[in-house]
């Protein structure tokens, strides 16, 4: 599935990225009242052909992270590298080359397609910009429609003539046009009906196998991530709280927030009602995040240390990193209740 050696340069590197949005009041002479720390120190890598799942709830920063990777925003600090090259501050040909390599599919099928363009024209957009000739473009559009299991003769129809699931497939076809190396999938199935989601997930996996394209899958649903992602990153209020290969994460959840997330996944198994971790309170605002560990205000395992010192992201088992004082290497308290939760989550 993956090409090249494991030791080769990963396809995407995110290094210590922060994105702070100034919170400004007033129009002409704006006063900066503070910063929304949407992303506050995130690092991970994605290898060619693999899927990284980015999980979290409102305000965790996953959407901002995906926008940074798409070069729709520039980081306040840190950098992002694609195939070893920085992706921000690019111009001209270098920018055009980057655009061809990284594409996206967004959540809302009703907003993702220009209602005044035929779907063929939308799919062809990146090719038109790249300067392809018309006959070549037409052939490729037909081929792409077939790839996403739609009728190639429908290229001249308009978006409103298709259903939600079909529109998402059209958006996928448009993303595939330039043969990208990485596709950012931002909640690609959450707006679709349950039975359509399965179709889309199967399609995404098939295409990945055929094209050897990597995915950054931003999702809030753990079951989807389990089904599609090779590695999983859990975010909370702009920080990475846990990061592990998916199988390992699902077998051995460590961080209290991740445990709560797992607990909140309602299984379609009424006979297996799991022990529930119900978090108290609301998700704090990223404008004014809690001190120390950002999760300490809602954490059922919070210790005095947690409100003062931010826990570093540390490796607790091969490939499995957690940012929590409970597991801090060299910390006297040791792994208090860090044990695995087997049973329901064991594959």
């Amino acid at each position: 599935m993956t090409s090249g050696l494991a030791s080769a340069e990963p396809l995407l590197r995110v290094e210590g990225v922060r994105k702070h949005f100034p919170f400004v009041k007033g129009v002409l002479l704006g006063r900066t009242l503070g910063h929304v720390k949407a992303v506050d120190g995130v690092s991970f890598t994605i290898r060619a052909g693999e899927t990284l799942g980015l999980v979290g709830e409102s305000g965790c920063g996953k959407t901002t992270t995906s926008r940074l990777i798409l070069n729709l925003e520039t980081p306040t600090e840190g950098r992002i590298l694609l195939e070893g090259q920085p992706i921000h501050d690019l111009r001209g040909e270098a920018l055009a080359a980057f655009r061809g390599k990284v594409q996206a599919v967004f959540q809302d099928p009703w907003s993702s397609l220009d209602p005044r363009m035929t779907v063929g024209r939308t799919i062809a957009e990146s090719l038109i910009i790249a300067g392809w000739e018309k006959p070549r473009i037409a052939a490729r559009v037909k081929e792409l429609l077939q790839r996403v299991r739609l009728d190639p003769e429908h290229a001249q129809l308009y978006p409103h003539e298709f259903s939600g699931g079909q529109r998402q497939r059209i958006a996928l076809a448009a993303a595939l046009a330039s043969r990208p190396k990485l596709i950012v999938l931002d909640e690609p199935i959450s707006a679709l009906d349950v039975s359509i989601r399965a179709q889309m997930m199967n399609l995404l996996k098939d295409i990945q196998a055929q094209e050897d394209v990597a995915y950054l899958l931003v999702a809030h649903d753990l079951a989807t991530v389990r089904h599609m992602a090779d590695q999983t990153v859990v975010m909370y209020l702009g920080k990475v709280v846990e990061h592990a290969p998916t199988r390992r994460l699902f077998d051995d959840v460590r961080h209290p927030y991740t445990k709560a997330l797992f607990s909140a996944v309602l299984l379609a198994r009424p006979d297996q009602l799991t022990e529930e971790v119900v978090l108290a309170g609301e998700i704090p605002s990223p404008l004014n995040p809690p001190s120390g560990c950002r999760f300490h205000t809602r954490c059922p395992m919070a210790m005095p240390r947690c409100s003062g010192v931010e826990p570093p992201l540390q490796e607790v088992s091969p490939g499995h990193r957690v940012a929590c004082h409970l597991y801090e290497v060299g910390n006297g308290t040791g792994a208090a209740d860090g044990g695995a939760k087997p049973g329901v989550f064991a594959a």
């Binding site: 709830e57 349950v194 039975s195 399965a198 089904h227 379609a268 009424p270 609301e282 989550f345 064991a346």
Partner: protein, 325 residues
């Protein structure tokens, strides 16, 4: 009628009368809601579940939609024949509703306290101070911290989860016998959803009200509901206790739907999908509406709409395959 049932729906049908044709969005829906139970109504978009709720509440969009037949018996009396004035008394007091989008459920220009006051005032004519006290108590009941402060806040100052709680507080302020919840947690974060569902369950236990819980999420059904009805193309195709439906889904649509949801355990493989699309509600087939997409369809299925067959205790499904003859 059984005194166990607080709501009985019989052959409810609501159509949209358009220039192009008639859309049979709800086409003969029948179910019972027992006192104190949570009944789930599950289906995908376009199946008619939300419209069923609106038909029961008689809150259909003005214009082309009309309930053409059926009865909705609330504690014995058919409310479909009541006058608009009588319905206004019934809504909020005896039967109430929570909607999906907390953003649009609350009026942005009034404070939370004022909106609660309005609901409470309809029920008890007290002094302003008394009503405010009740309002604060209502917020406390839905587990909103510092209710005394929150009462003066506006919706935009609150998170989605908190807004849904306020909506919940307003809906139950009249102590209704029946609460219809239309996808109340779909727009909420997962951990917030869990909080909210637990709250709903607690309130239900306290007040003894029955809940008709509309959702597309089987996980929510497993957690919240005692019984569940599955809807497809305007009709209920299967109904039964939650445990039985999950253990022994009998209608092919229910089976396919449950099978298409990715699991949290077990092997990660290809997901089961359902080919094709639901039929157009303007042009419904004569026989079973799922036949065109069903792996087990026979000639019989296309000729006549399946009768209701009993699969187990209180568990029924409309499918010819279940006909033992």
């Amino acid at each position: 009628m059984s005194t166990d049932n607080v709501l009985e729906v019989r052959d409810l049908a609501t159509y949209f009368f358009l220039r192009r044709g008639v859309v049979k969005a709800v086409d003969g829906v029948s179910f019972d809601l027992k006192r104190g139970e949570v009944l789930g109504l599950v289906g995908e978009s376009g199946c008619g579940k939300s419209l069923t709720a609106l038909s029961i509440m008689r809150l259909l969009p003005k214009g082309s939609a009309r309930t053409v037949r059926g009865e909705v018996r609330l504690a014995g009396e058919n409310i479909l024949t009541r006058s608009p004035r009588e319905m206004r008394e019934i809504r909020g007091r005896r039967i109430s509703m929570i909607l999906q989008d907390p953003q649009t459920s609350l009026n942005p220009v009034f404070s939370v306290g004022e909106q609660l006051r309005e609901a409470i005032f309809r029920r008890t004519r007290g002094s302003k101070a008394e009503i405010m006290k009740e309002a604060v108590a209502a917020l406390r009941r839905v587990e909103i911290a510092a209710p005394g402060e929150r009462i003066a806040q506006f919706p935009h100052q609150m998170s989605g989860g908190m807004k849904q709680r306020v909506v919940g507080a307003i809906s139950i302020s009249g102590y209704p016998q029946v609460l219809i919840a239309d996808e109340p947690t779909t727009a909420l974060d997962v951990t917030i959803q869990l909080q909210y569902l637990k709250l709903l369950k607690r309130l239900q236990a306290e007040t003894g009200m029955a809940i008709l819980f509309i959702t597309h999420d089987f996980g929510v059904v497993a957690r919240m509901c005692n019984r569940v009805a599955v809807m497809y193309a305007g009709r209920i195709v299967e109904c039964g206790p939650v445990a039985r439906i999950f253990q022994q889904p009998s209608h092919p649509y229910t089976q396919a739907l449950i099978a298409s949801v990715p699991e949290m355990s077990g092997a990660v493989g290809r997901l089961t999908t359902i080919d094709g699309q639901p039929p157009s509600l303007m042009d419904l087939p004569l026989g079973c509406r799922f036949a065109a997409r069903c792996a087990h369809a026979q000639a019989r299925c296309r000729d006549a709409y399946p009768s209701t067959f009993t699969v187990g205790p209180e568990h029924v499904a409309d499918c010819w395959r279940l006909d033992s003859q």
